[in-house]
């Protein structure tokens, strides 16, 4: 028993074992949904290879000196941005989004790398010596770090991933202690921009709300006017950008804002996913016996709709075990955010937590029908090399933070 205690002290099994559990569930579900498929029957073997590689990378990341992540931050972020630009130019289009590099038979999604790069870079920036989270310039830079990749990913267009980046950015600024007014300054231009897309009327209403809020905050005239002008110009600037874009780019933004532009396509998948999960019942229909899955009612089920394979074939029991494993991971990360040894480690932990949770919430929410249909993979379960790889690197980093939590420098 003694040895076990020592191991738990250096290596958080209550994060690592649930992750392994989820990966195993994922492999079972991928096998079930592809074994009879005309073109995807090799995906199970490929995923096994991805898992083995990502486990190896996990141990490497876990063993690196903790300080090195701080050093990697800027370089990794720069590389991510470079790839995001490059993919728009020479990337390959998969399911309507230009978000992949094809290398040999395999694809690589640079937005996955950018997730890691952005979390590290934001954490680094927000915890650098004399940063003041309520200083307009420092917030501005933090926002730029987070929003720049979003702009590039919007052009691909990949709505789900853009949302994840925004959630991460806001969470880290929030965690850093921004004032309510600061949070308002950060969020309001986004809301006004969104309203400007909906129409002139919505735009004016949004601006009026901003004015009302400014009265509520009782800031001086200069600050209030500045915030109002920022909001006003955000709306007009986006409108201008939208006009100068080429028609096919405008179409991309339209489809980004309204993913149900193909209502039957999206509605059809969501309906079939719900039928699959609901018909699973308490015990499920049994491994390889889900007719929704085996008759392939849900296209590309092994990616964004992997959870409904589990719902159908392993029932309420299986579905609950999967979300419980996620809950354990989230709560352990939450606890770690209070015990990590420095602010950089705390923010990285919060970043990873936010990333995994937003993927989890949007994906499971879509599968059980409580959130809109937005394509995002389910961490550790969905088929895909880039996602698996980056997720395991992130788990490696947080367990590394766990290992170093009691050391002081």
């Amino acid at each position: 028993m003694n040895i076990n205690y020592k191991l738990q002290d250096r290596f958080d099994l209550s994060i690592f074992l649930p992750v392994i559990g989820l990966i195993i569930f994922g492999l079972l579900a991928i096998y079930s949904s592809t074994v009879n498929h005309p073109t995807a029957s090799g995906n199970f073997q490929k995923q096994v290879v991805f898992v083995i590689i990502s486990l190896f990378v996990f141990f490497v990341t876990f063993s690196l000196p903790l300080q090195s992540f701080k050093k990697f931050a800027i370089a990794l972020y720069a590389v991510s941005i470079f790839f995001l630009v490059a993919v728009l130019v020479i990337g390959k289009t998969v399911y309507g989004a230009k978000s992949w590099f094809g290398i040999g038979g395999f694809g690589f999604q640079p937005s996955e790398l950018a997730k890691l790069g952005t979390i590290l870079m934001l954490s680094y920036w927000l915890t650098y010596k004399s940063r003041d989270i309520n200083n307009l310039k420092d917030i501005g830079v933090a926002l730029l770090i987070g929003v720049f990749p979003v702009a590039l990913i919007m052009l691909e267009p990949d709505m789900g991933t853009s949302i994840v980046f925004l959630v991460i950015t806001v969470s880290l600024i929030f965690w850093s202690g921004i004032s309510l007014f600061g949070l308002f300054v950060v969020l309001s231009p986004g809301i006004v921009t969104f309203a400007s897309i909906l129409g002139t009327y919505a735009f004016i209403v949004a601006l009026l709300l901003v004015v009302a809020a400014l009265f509520f905050f009782k800031k001086d005239l200069f600050n209030s006017t500045a915030v109002f002008i920022i909001n006003l110009s955000a709306g007009f600037f986006f409108d201008y950008i939208y006009r100068v874009l080429k028609p096919h780019q405008q179409k991309r933004i339209a489809s980004f804002l309204d993913p149900s532009a193909d209502p039957l396509g999206a509605g059809y998948n969501a309906l079939q996913a719900k039928v699959a999960i609901g018909s699973g019942g308490f015990w499920g229909k049994g491994f390889l016996h889900g007719n929704q899955t085996q008759l392939r009612f849900i296209p590309e089920q092994w990616t964004d709709f992997i959870y409904c394979v589990i719902g159908e074939e392993f029932g309420y029991i299986g579905s609950m075990i999967v979300i419980l494993l996620f809950l354990i991971i989230f709560l352990r990360l939450f606890k770690l955010s209070a015990t990590a040894k420095d602010r950089f480690s705390v923010l990285v932990t919060v970043g990873v937590l936010t990333l995994l949770f937003s993927h989890f919430a949007l994906n499971i929410g879509m599968n059980v029908g409580v959130t809109p249909v937005i394509g995002l993979p389910l961490p550790f379960l969905s088929y895909g090399g880039s996602t698996q790889f980056i997720n395991m690197v992130m788990i490696g980093i947080v367990l590394n933070i766990y290992r170093n939590r009691k050391l002081h420098t």
Binding site: H37, T39, I277, F282, R343, F357, V368, V370
Partner: protein, 605 residues
Amino acid sequence: MNDNYFGSLFRRRIVFVIIVGFFAICSVQLFNMQILQQPTYSEKSDENSVKPIYQLAPRGIFYDRNHKVLVGNKPSFTLRITPSTYDKKLTPYLEAILGMSPGYIDRILKLNESYSKFIPRKIAKDVSFKVIAWYEENSSKLPGVDYVMETQRDYSFGVTGAHMFGYTKEIPLEVFQRRKGEYDIGDEIGFGGIEKTYEDYLRGEKGIKYMLVDAKQKTIGRYKAGEEDRATIKGDDLTLTIDKDAQEVAEEEFKDKRGAVVALDPSTGEVLAFLSSPQYNLEDFAKVTSNEVWRELNNNPDRPMFNRASMSTFAPGSTFKMISAIAGLEEGIIDTNFKVNCGGGYQFGDRYFKCLHVHGTVDVETSIEKSCNTFYYTLVNKLGLDTWSKYAKKFGFGTKTKIDIPEESSGIVPSTEYYNRVYGKNGWTKGFVISLGIGQGELNVTPLQLAQYAALFANYGKSARPHFLKSYMDTQTNKRYDVKPQYYDIGISRKSFDIVRRAMYLVVNGAGTATNIKLPDIAIAGKTGTAQNPHGKDHAIFVGFAPYNNPKIAIAVIVENAGFGSIAAAPIARDIIKAYLQKDKKEEPKDLAALPAVKEANIEH
């Protein structure tokens, strides 16, 4: 209370509540779906699943330049087997009724083994109505067998055009994977020729019918009474540059011959006729192609699958003499006063190059009219290899014409650099160059290049890239888009052209080598050629254009192993020219005028 600080307790609580709250919502929703509403969902899953049924779109039709149908569509029945429910004991009966040899069905099923057993396999296309009637009577005893109505290419409009039209077949797995998301397994896709180049115009859009199917895939009704269904959109119709009458004459003349014909409109590059003979029967590809058909086509020594018109290469013989003449005139090496004495041949070093006759004193005009070799042995020696080569390349030889079908060869135009590469710096002699003057030696050209060459003479060095597509009709907007020809000018003086064109006129209308095809009402200009063939009898070649004063058609004809160009090739060219020009007089193109073009389209391929 101030909680505006790093990781404040209040903020931690908000995050905690979001995490646990979302977990709670999901647990409740799962409980609701999988336990409370499980019977409803189960029923839906078992009985009311929606399945999209795709309906293939008819491909666009090919019209000729006068709006006559070249390739159409016809309805056909396709018999299918779905392995998951199919009983193998039925195989002998099916094979008997379809008239297939035993083992045929097993072979098709084995071929598609890697696909899900729930996907139906096409067993036979274009099945007769008798078979369908038999199926309808016995369908209850035939589990896993069904049929679908599809449209299929109809080639019954009088022209074959196999090599230019190309064919369609079921999408191969590697193309399916490369064009991910655009096609489904079992879709037809254009293979070769125009069907391939303009696939994206021709394919149209599949329709979808949403059907309610039970878990065993049995249809039990329409989803939402069909209001979500999507109608099929037929592919865009193509108006080709082909003239059906000219093409028909070409195909008729080549019935029992091997060779190729390419005819162009010299000013626009529009292909008027395009033939490679022997052809193959496109009908054979419209059905599920049997092994026997493939074996026969591939083992035939005449190679019917090979597109001779744009892929075969050969030495063009005397038809190439005009290159040297133009080069000499343009470079100022010769003029109309330059004369060579032909005593029946030309001594170069220790080799003697022969001429067919003793022509006496020959100037440039007579040299073409009478096809004197001695004149060109002398001239090419004066020109030098690289000057000759430069002019051959100007006329488009040695590079692809970039015609809008994928099958094309570039041919070879030798140069110093070429010979050095092939034989080494000292491995070749100037003697190699002498034969090039009369279009023999390592020179390789395609019939298409020769037709382009004729067009350049017809139109004084100005033409446009050869192409098949004249316009297309967008099915959805019902607007016609004209293709803008891609014009070019090779930059050779009108004076040189006048001299050489005059000589080409005399070939047919003076005392030349093709006076046998002289017509009373159409002035044809041209040049005969005989290409030496190391494997057998010489190939007969004719290039030409007409009418001489205002050319409307330029043509190249090659008849394999047929001997002299004047006897075997020139009369075919004459008949095609006649078919094209005389019809032009008697009937005006009609339907096209009624459909005004909305704008010009630039087509890239």
